[in-house]
């Protein structure tokens, strides 16, 4: 289809909008536990060059290696240069890259459809939210969408370059997160259904098959073997389904009802707030399905619509649910809407449908502003999940002030004690404290610490032990560091204790100023 200068300009504006929405105020929300864990893994990789894939605990290696690559090209050579906004740059960049994946479709659908898809991808509240979040999700969403688009182009054109890209995107998805298996399965199932319903040809030449396989293997071998230094990592890929099934079926703490994703996407009521999030998308999808069927490029619409629906059903049926998992359904759903509305060059929408499109997109814009910029860390926000809030920043700022005031910080003993190692995301915020012990129980030598941060339920226990077990000559007096218990995230509260003599010394110093 013909692209004029006006179309290129419009697409560039939409792309810039996506970048601005993703990059603005990147530090307006404290690190989530998962972001802190990913941050420290990346820090280790950047500073020591060490990373080993662990199939039991964490996701794939692509996030860490690509972040280190991005950090190096932005001039950050060691861990001291890492910050929350810098780490979030990679998902931001990948979230904007989603729009560029639409460009190869310009031979199939009108410029209007590409620009409209781009606009919805740019302003979708959930896609913006998780593009500003240092976890694996946006990478997975982007690579899966690339696999869908290039898979479609390959089956349509049989071009070897499309086979190569399809394989490469599949390989990158495999390197990102275990749920790739569900996503690639859903896309392949949609291709199969498309063949049944729309008589789409599904021939893959042997040479192209080999090309695809090679393209899959390149990132998989490089990343999982930690750049050929850990061949064991390659064999451990096969272990991941066992761990994933265990987690999906057995893990109790993330079990949610089947309608959970429906509610967080399309209507979530919490603390007197009603969040409509992606309802604009839903309204447009229903309208497109009811009134625009068969008017445009049907195969692409059918493929993207089916992929989105299959993914939604599969993820809803799995009891293990976290909100970011469902973001993968949005790009194909958006493509489905845009193709049905504007697939043909000369499509003219009726006035009521135009009204739905205007209202739907306006709703998305409003929800994006609310969810990403007004209430980004609010527990009522449907996209937050055990999200750290204001208290985390207060703890961090208080300890940072202390670190600067204590004469020899490297000698200052800081102990953090939380049953179940529930002290995250503190390890990220306290990474400058070199002399810190991290405990899941009260250690015998706890009284040697000048500063203690502990789960509030341990306060009485530590008081008893201090006075019953520790001799008077070894015992310090402690005072509270914060004026109240502080929340690491909802439901996890800590208190801070500081040795009285240190507190007096610091306060004396302050008074002398």
């Amino acid at each position: 289809m013909t692209w004029s200068l006006r179309h290129y300009i419009l697409f560039t504006i939409v792309f810039l909008l996506a970048v601005v929405l993703r990059i603005a105020q990147l530090d307006n929300r404290p690190f989530h536990v998962d972001e802190a864990v990913n941050g420290l893994i990346t820090e280790k990789l950047l500073s020591d060059g060490q990373y080993t894939y662990d199939p039991a605990a964490f996701h794939g290696p692509s996030l860490y290696y690509l972040t280190v690559f991005l950090a190096r090209i932005t001039g950050v050579g060691d861990a001291s240069g890492l910050s929350e906004p810098l780490l979030r740059l990679l998902p931001t960049f990948v979230g904007a890259l989603l729009l560029l994946l639409l460009i190869p479709l310009r031979q199939y659908v009108s410029p209007k459809a590409i620009i409209f898809s781009g606009f919805l991808l740019a302003v979708s509240p959930m896609l913006v939210y998780y593009s500003r979040y240092y976890i694996h999700e946006m990478l997975l969403v982007c690579f899966s969408f690339g696999f869908l688009i290039y898979g479609f182009i390959y089956l349509d054109t049989g071009r070897s370059s499309a086979a190569l890209w399809t394989g490469l995107f599949a390989g990158l998805a495999i390197c990102t997160k275990e749920t790739w298996i569900l996503i690639l399965f859903s896309v392949l199932l949609s291709f199969f259904l498309l063949r049944l319903v729309k008589r789409q040809k599904m021939e893959i030449k042997t040479l192209h098959m080999l090309l695809m396989l090679g393209a899959i293997l390149i990132p998989v071998v490089i990343f999982y073997s930690s750049f050929f230094t850990n061949p064991k990592g390659l064999f451990e890929i096969v272990e991941f389904p066992v761990h994933y099934i265990e987690r999906a079926a057995g893990e109790q703490i993330h079990r949610h009802h089947a309608l959970y994703y429906l509610s967080i996407l399309f209507g979530y009521y919490e603390n007197d707030h009603l969040f409509l999030a992606e309802t604009g998308i839903l309204v447009m999808a229903i309208t497109a399905l009811l009134y625009q069927r068969g008017q445009t490029y049907a195969r692409l619409a059918a493929l993207s619509g089916m992929t989105s629906a299959i993914l939604f059903v599969i993820f809803s049926l799995i009891p293990y649910k976290t909100p970011w998992n469902i973001s993968v359904v949005l790009p194909p759903l958006i493509l489905f809407i845009a193709v049905l509305f504007f697939g043909k060059e000369k499509t003219v929408l009726s006035r009521p449908i135009k009204g739905v499109v205007v209202i739907g997109t306006a709703m998305l814009c409003i929800q994006t502003v609310i969810l990403n910029f007004e209430l980004p860390a609010d527990p009522a926000n449907p996209f937050t999940y055990a999200q750290s809030g204001e208290d985390m920043l207060k703890i961090s700022s208080k300890l940072e002030t202390l670190r600067k005031e204590i004469p020899d910080t490297d000698q200052a003993q800081l102990m953090v004690i939380a049953p179940g190692h529930a002290y995250w995301p503190l390890p990220w915020y306290l990474r400058e404290w070199k002399n810190t012990g991290w405990w899941d129980h009260i250690p015998d030598n706890f009284y040697q610490a000048q500063i203690l941060i502990l789960t509030d339920s341990l306060e009485r226990d530590i008081g008893n032990r201090l006075y019953e077990q520790i001799s008077a000559e070894n015992r310090h007096l402690y005072v509270h560091l914060f004026d109240r218990p502080m929340e690491l995230y909802p439901g996890n509260t800590v208190i801070g204790l500081i040795e009285l003599s240190l507190w007096e010394k610091l306060n004396g110093k302050n008074a002398a100023r």
Binding site: D34, F58, Q252, N271, A386, T436, G437, N445, Q448, D456
Partner: protein, 220 residues
């Protein structure tokens, strides 16, 4: 002999000049690294009470008030618990450790404690499970003189905000389980039977009890 005295004096002087050596040994301070963890549970519960942040003040009750539920007969809607025995609900063991709690089946379950005689009940303290922070849903505590809870039923606590357990909509707030237990003011109600409901928790659909204490005095 002269040399011996000379050497002894030099050695004596040296011991005085050189700094005294402490016999203290360096303390082996372990500094464990932070252990990586998975995504934490999302404690997003409607109408959740803010933590007190300090020990609960003692509650006042008439002299002679004591735990009158200790080792009294208990019945449950789940007579064959998944873990533990029903009798552990009021055996005096309030520890969070495994072996100190009873695990009842999913959905709404209740336990009934028979105090043996009508008492003035001043307070009830209940520990569902405090090894990790959790919120139990539909916590309802009822007191009655009637074993079938048909007549004279007094609801002392109810946080079932959608009546999903069928005992009416409650106005009390959800709360996070702690080692202090939940103290419910019973205001001296006269009762022989106490019934406690729950309907799963933020971690799973199951119901747990570490201990239930009922503070009261026999009715004179």
């Amino acid at each position: 002999m002269k040399y011996f005295i000379l050497i002894s004096m030099v050695l004596y002087l040296l011991t005085g000049v050189l700094p005294a050596q402490d016999t203290m040994v360096p303390i082996d301070i372990q500094l464990p690294k932070p252990m990586f963890v998975g995504t934490p549970q999302n404690m997003q519960v409607k109408n959740l009470e803010k933590p007190l942040g300090k020990p609960r003040p003692p509650f006042l009750a008439p002299e002679g008030t004591k735990n009158v539920a200790l080792n009294k007969p208990v019945k449950s809607t789940d007579e064959e618990p998944i873990i533990g025995e029903i009798a552990m609900i009021n055996d005096g063991d309030k520890e969070a450790a495994d072996g100190s709690f009873v695990e009842l089946g999913p959905f709404t379950q209740n336990v009934t404690i028979d105090l043996g005689a009508v008492h003035n009940v001043y307070a009830i303290v209940v520990w569902h499970y405090h090894k990790q922070p959790r919120v139990y849903f539909d916590v309802i505590i009822q007191a009655s003189k009637d074993a079938d809870f048909i007549e004279d039923v007094e609801t002392l606590f109810n946080n079932d905000d959608d009546n999903s357990s069928g005992q009416g909509v409650g106005k009390n707030m959800h709360y996070v389980e702690t080692s202090e237990g939940k103290l419910v003011d019973a205001k001296g109600v006269e009762a022989r039977y106490l019934k406690l409901y729950s309907n799963g928790n933020t971690n799973n659909d199951l119901n747990h009890y570490v201990e239930v204490e009922v503070y009261g005095k026999p009715v004179q």
